[in-house]
Symmetry: D2
Subunit: 96 residues, 4 copies
């Protein structure tokens, strides 16, 4: 399986337009999610865990109660690739 290569700054800019809530931070895609409570936050994490493993592309994420903070990058490519935008899109789809 060929892994995606790094995308250009222009592509990053245009992709971010379609990803409400996400921004660049230290060259990673970053978003804070806030849920009603811990149950909803962890339900989201369980869904994303399944998707991430299937993509073989895992987030850096932290959780405190109803908040989930996510950073995405593609380590073996050394920057942002289509995988990051794909995972971010799944997250926006599954978050309320």
């Amino acid at each position: 399986m060929t892994r995606p290569s790094i995308v250009s700054d222009e592509v990053i800019e245009s992709r971010l337009v379609g990803l409400p809530g996400w921004r660049l931070e230290n060259d990673k895609l970053h978003r804070n999610f806030e849920f009603d409570d811990f149950v909803n936050a962890f339900g989201f994490m369980a869904q994303i865990a399944i998707i991430a493993e299937k993509m073989d592309h895992h987030p850096e994420w932290s959780n405190v109660y109803n908040r989930v903070e996510v950073s995405l990058t593609t380590h073996d490519a050394g920057g942002l690739t289509e995988l990051d935008f794909e995972l971010a899109t799944h997250m926006n789809r599954l978050a309320p």
Copy 2:
């Protein structure tokens, strides 16, 4: 902690009115849930797992891909109690 006692048939009937999708089957509360896909089905199960353990009241449930089939009863009471209606209410709230 006092555990709830069995509710009457009249109460069961009136509670079922407020619980779309649920019906009595073999004296248990029963509902089939259908989700978009496995990810959504399991996300739901993860949320309910957390709630069920907190209530110390666990469902009998089965899953195949996007379907989750649930039966609820209170074994140590020998029938339906408020715990079953409470858990069913959580499920209806968290299912799409």
Copy 3:
């Protein structure tokens, strides 16, 4: 991606030897797992959910408190395939 084809009865027999706890039931692989408590049972289910989605091969399974009952078959092949034995192997590896 080519999906596995049905395996012969001889192969089934020989594979079952290496899968303690599993048996044939209604032409499906079947096993009952018992855990210490609900937390352990659901932790196992969460792990298998991730693996199953990655394999694009999902179990028929039910849970009541600390018990998880599993049936495996490959519906689109109309019987048992290597996918079922692979998933059963993951389950035996992750169950205590």
Copy 4:
């Protein structure tokens, strides 16, 4: 339900002796867990999520692939309480 009160430095010291891997960091209990892979890391998180909600005491935690980093404190008490040591004990019990 009475919530636990802050424990003394002496108690913290003596409790840490029985909690391999944990140390004080910025007045919080801190430990890094490392698992075989993402599936094992997330299975652990699913178990702890259930326990944490039941305790009504949630961790600050982050995950990257097979690593889970945890910080524990009791915000409404303004420091470490028995709840933190109880949750840390559950984590050590469930981590391999």
